[in-house]
C-alpha cells in the first residue's frame, strides 16, 4: 500500500520505489490522489475538485524608489493549477515571472486580484507553500541538516523531531553523508539539493520553483532535472515553476504557460502530453521537439518586439 503508487509508476532510472518507502505521506496531497492509486494514468482527469491554486486578475506594480512612479510588472493574470499538476511559466527575463511567483509565495503584495491555495486566501507566506529560489541562499553558519530543517524549526517543530522528519528528504535528494557539512563545502548542485530538501521537508501543498537550476552548469542541470522528475514521480507535488529554459519547461511540466513581455500577461498555454514517468530520454522524441519549437516560436515573437532581444534557447 505504501509503495503501491511507486510500483504502478516504475521509474527505470531512479528507482522511485526505493525512495517511496521513505517518503512521508503528505496528508492533503494524498487525499486528492487516492483515486490515482488504482487508476494512475487518468488521475488528472478523474479529479473534478476545485483547483489547488486559483489566481484571479492579479496585478503587480512596483514603485520607483526615486520618483514614486508606478510600473506594472504583472497585468491581470488569471491562472488555475490542479492538485498534482506541474505547471511552468516561461517568458523573457524581466517579463514578470518572478514577481508572479513571489506574489503566490506571499512575498510580494499584489496591487489587486485574488490568490487562493486550497480555497484559502493568500495573505503572506504560509506553511501550505514553499519556495526554492534560484540562489540556494543556505544559511552559511548552519550545517546541511540544520538548513534543511530551518522551515520546520521556524514553525516550532522541536529539533530532534525535525531532524527525524528530514531523514527521508535527505535520501530523496541524495544528500546522505553530507548532513554535517557546511554549505560552503558543497558544490552548486549539492547546495541546490539542500535548497530543494528545505522546501520539501515542510510538506507544502504547493511547491514554488524560481529558476531553480539556472545557475548550474549544463551537466549538473540535467542531473537535477532527472532528480526533480523522480522526486515528482514519488511525491506528486503540485508544482509551479518559473524558468526561461524552454526545454526544461517542456521536459518537466504537464502544462507550459508563456508570459507576454512586461507587463506579464498570460500568453499561450501548452499542454505537455509526453508520457510519464519521464526521463531525459523524452528529449529525443519528436513530440518534445515539436512542443519546444512551438513554445520557442511564441516567446520569440514577443522577444522580437524588444529593442534588444536577449532570449537564447
Amino acid at each position: 500500500m505504501n509503495n503501491g503508487l511507486a510500483l504502478e509508476r516504475p521509474d527505470p532510472v531512479w528507482e522511485a520505489d526505493e525512495l517511496a518507502v521513505h517518503w512521508p505521506r503528505a496528508a492533503g496531497e494524498r487525499r486528492v490522489d487516492s483515486a490515482a492509486e488504482t487508476t494512475p494514468l487518468t488521475v488528472l482527469a478523474a479529479v473534478p475538485s476545485a483547483p489547488l491554486l486559483e489566481v484571479r486578475d492579479l496585478v503587480i506594480t512596483y514603485e520607483n524608489q526615486n520618483t514614486g512612479e508606478l510600473t506594472e510588472a504583472v497585468s491581470h493574470v488569471s491562472l488555475n493549477i490542479q492538485a498534482g499538476e506541474f505547471v511552468t511559466i516561461v517568458g523573457l527575463s524581466g517579463c514578470g515571472k518572478s514577481s508572479f511567483l513571489n506574489a503566490v509565495a506571499g512575498l510580494v503584495k499584489p496591487a489587486s486580484g485574488t490568490m487562493k491555495v486550497a480555497g484559502k486566501r493568500i495573505d503572506g507566506p504560509g506553511p501550505d507553500r514553499s519556495v526554492v529560489f534560484q540562489k540556494a541562499t543556505l544559511l552559511p553558519w548552519r550545517t546541511v541538516m540544520d538548513n534543511i530543517i530551518y522551515g520546520l524549526e521556524l514553525r516550532g517543530v522541536p529539533k530532534p523531531i525535525a531532524r527525524e522528519r528530514a531523514e527521508s528528504c535527505i535520501d530523496l535528494v541524495r544528500l546522505r553523508g553530507f548532513e554535517h557539512f557546511h554549505p560552503h563545502a558543497l558544490s552548486g548542485g549539492m547546495q541546490q539539493r539542500v535548497n530543494l530538501a528545505r522546501a520539501l521537508v515542510t510538506e507544502p501543498q504547493l511547491l514554488l520553483l524560481d529558476e531553480p537550476f539556472a545557475a548550474l552548469d549544463a551537466i549538473t542541470r540535467e542531473t537535477m532535472q532527472n532528480e526533480l522528475l523522480s522526486i515528482w514521480n514519488v511525491t506528486r507535488k503540485t508544482v509551479l515553476m518559473v524558468t526561461h529554459q524552454i526545454d526544461e519547461a517542456v521536459l518537466l511540466s504537464d502544462r507550459v504557460i508563456v508570459f507576454s513581455d512586461r507587463p506579464a500577461r498570460i500568453g499561450t498555454e501548452f499542454k505537455i502530453n509526453l508520457p510519464r514517468p519521464r526521463t531525459q530520454e523524452a528529449r529525443y522524441s519528436p513530440a518534445f521537439d515539436y512542443l519546444a519549437k512551438e513554445v520557442f516560436g511564441v516567446i520569440h515573437s514577443s522577444a522580437s518586439k524588444r529593442e534588444e532581444p536577449e532570449y537564447v534557447i
Binding site: 541562499t137 544559511l139 522551515g151
Partner: protein
C-alpha cells in the same frame, strides 16, 4: 601520512621557526642595544633605565605585591566599564540598525558623541562621579561603547537580504528573523567591535588613572614618572602592552573560529 604531507609539514615548520627567530632577533637586538648604551653611559641611566634594571624592578614589584595590587585595581575598573559597554552597547547598536525610526532619531546623537575626544570629559566625570571608581568607569564605558554600537548597527544594516527573504518565505516572525538570521550573521561584526572596544577601553583605563586616583597601572606609571622611577614606568608599560596583546590575540582567535563555517567542517 604520505611522505609529501610530511615534507610539506616539515617545510611549514621550518618557515614558522625562521619567522619566529627573525622577529625574536629584532627584540633581542633592541634590548641589547638599549642595555649597551645604558651601561656605556652613552645616555644617562637615570633617564633611560635598562632592560636588566627593568627586569629586576619587575621581579621586585611582583614579589612585594605592588604590581598585583595595581593590576587588580585596573582590572576591576576595566571589567566594570567594559562589561557595561557590552551590556549597553550591543542592544543599542542592534536597535539602531534594526529599527529604521530609532536609527533616524538617534544616529546624529551617536555620531556627535563618537567624534568627541572622550578624555576631554574626564574633569566633568570627576565632578559628577568623584575621583574613585565612578569617573574611571564612566570614561571606559564611554570609550568602549561606540565601537560596539557602530559595529552592531553596521551588522544589522548589512544582513544579506536574500537570507532575510528565505526566513520570511518560511514564515519567520520578526523575532525569529532576528535570532536565526540577524544575530548569527552579526557575530563577525561583534568580534571586531569587541576588539576595538577593548583597545579603547584599555586606553581609557590608563588615561583615567593617570588623571587621578591612587591606584591602578595608570596611576603607578604616572607616579613613577613624576618621581623619576623610569624602571617602574617601563614595568607598567610592558604589563599593559602584554595584557593588551593577550586579549587582542584571544579575540582574533575567536574571530577565526567563528569564521570556520567558511572552512570545511566535518
Amino acid at each position: 601520512m604520505s611522505s609529501d604531507a610530511r615534507r610539506f609539514r616539515a617545510r611549514k615548520f621550518r618557515e614558522n621557526l625562521f619567522s619566529l627567530g627573525l622577529s625574536g632577533g629584532v627584540f633581542v637586538l633592541l634590548f641589547a642595544t638599549w642595555e649597551f648604551v645604558a651601561r656605556a653611559h652613552l645616555v644617562d641611566p637615570m633617564f633611560s633605565s635598562s632592560p636588566s634594571q627593568v627586569l629586576l624592578t619587575g621581579w621586585e614589584l611582583i614579589n612585594n605585591g605592588t604590581l598585583l595590587k595595581h593590576v587588580l585595581a585596573s582590572g576591576k575598573v576595566f571589567l566594570t566599564g567594559f562589561g557595561l559597554a557590552v551590556i549597553l552597547g550591543i542592544p543599542i547598536g542592534v536597535a539602531l540598525g534594526w529599527f529604521k525610526w530609532f536609527n533616524r532619531a538617534f544616529s546624529p546623537l551617536v555620531s556627535a558623541f563618537y567624534t568627541m575626544p572622550r578624555i576631554a570629559l574626564m574633569p566633568l566625570f570627576i565632578i559628577w562621579f568623584g575621583l574613585g571608581m565612578g569617573s574611571k568607569v564612566a570614561l571606559i564605558l564611554l570609550s568602549a561603547i561606540f565601537p560596539l554600537i557602530v559595529n552592531m548597527q553596521v551588522a544589522m544594516q548589512n544582513i544579506d537580504a536574500d537570507y532575510k527573504r528565505v526566513g520570511i518565505a518560511y514564515g519567520a516572525n520578526q523575532w525569529q528573523l532576528f535570532s536565526t538570521v540577524a544575530l548569527p550573521s552579526s557575530i563577525p561584526f561583534l568580534l571586531t567591535g569587541l576588539r576595538l572596544a577593548m583597545g579603547r577601553g584599555l586606553l581609557g583605563v590608563v588615561a583615567a588613572e593617570v588623571f587621578g586616583g591612587a591606584e591602578g597601572l595608570g596611576y603607578m606609571i604616572q607616579y613613577a614618572g613624576a618621581t623619576f622611577q623610569i624602571d617602574v614606568v617601563f614595568v607598567g608599560v610592558v604589563v599593559i602592552a602584554t595584557i593588551g596583546v593577550i586579549m587582542d590575540r584571544s579575540l582574533a582567535y575567536a574571530s577565526r573560529r567563528v569564521d570556520s563555517w567558511k572552512i570545511t567542517e566535518t
